[in-house]
């Protein structure tokens, strides 16, 4: 019996099912050194820890506690969120870069589930 394979399969599917989905959009066109708009929309219930399920058991708090945007290893934006942020968090903010680059967005919740997205920034390109 290939026990090792089976557990690896389970681990892989668990990781996939707990990945937090999200979408990142940038405004266009982007010019060097000029702030551009970033919109992030994540799919997450942002459980406050104050709700109870249908059997009356408290639903544990679980929110996306951090969202980080990096360019290479440099952090451009870091948001620490709490239960005061709505379910399916939406963030709109501004960044600026001086050259073509790739931005990495990462987010993590209280349960340790993560999500990530990479977005290429091309100066001057429309759409």
């Amino acid at each position: 019996m290939a026990a090792g394979d089976a557990s690896a399969g389970v681990a892989a599917s668990t990781a996939a099912s707990t990945a937090i989905l999200g979408r990142v959009r940038l405004s266009a066109p982007i010019a060097a050194g000029v702030p551009f708009e970033v919109r992030v929309l994540l799919r997450h219930p942002m459980e406050t820890g104050f709700r109870h399920d249908e059997l009356g058991r408290p639903v544990p708090r679980n929110v996306i506690r951090e969202l980080v945007c990096r360019r290479a290893d440099r952090e451009l934006m870091r948001a620490s969120l709490g239960s005061g942020i709505s379910a399916n968090p939406y963030l709109r903010f501004f960044l600026q870069v001086d050259a073509d680059c790739e931005l990495g967005f990462e987010w993590v919740d209280d349960a340790g589930a993560r999500g990530a997205e990479r977005v290429a920034v091309k100066l001057g390109a429309a759409g």
């Binding site: 952090e75 934006m77 870091r78 620490s80 005061g84 709505s86 939406y90 501004f94 600026q96």
Partner: protein, 154 residues
Amino acid sequence: MRRYREARRQLLRSAGACLIIVALPRPVGATGALPAIPELDGWLAGRVPRIERVTLELPRFADNADAVPMNLKVAGPFSDGESVLALRLFSEKNPYPRMAEFHLMPGLARVEIETRVRLAQSQTVVAIAELEHGELLAATAEVTVTASACIDGG
């Protein structure tokens, strides 16, 4: 003519007095403008933010307190050493007063964040901007909640 001048002076003087009376509550309010939030006071540790340049927009009335649109801006321009490095949101009446914290890149020319927040009840929300050289700026917004985000069916 003289009498007219005297009367005019008198009128101006009383008008000035009226202005002072009207204006008085404002400075008093400005120093104590931030609501008493122990978490905020603890974080401020005696520092007094100036109530300027920050705009915190929340609807005056929130029908759906689970998702209240919020816009937070700090007016530029930001000269060298004056970048906004962090923005913090404090809630007066939510169970967790620290709603969110945003750390920004130095040199960012447009400081604006938009999101949707949850409000447990009618309250004042406080936004604090932290500049590179340590100065603090703040703004508040009062929201009346018509349906709470913390109603629990269970």
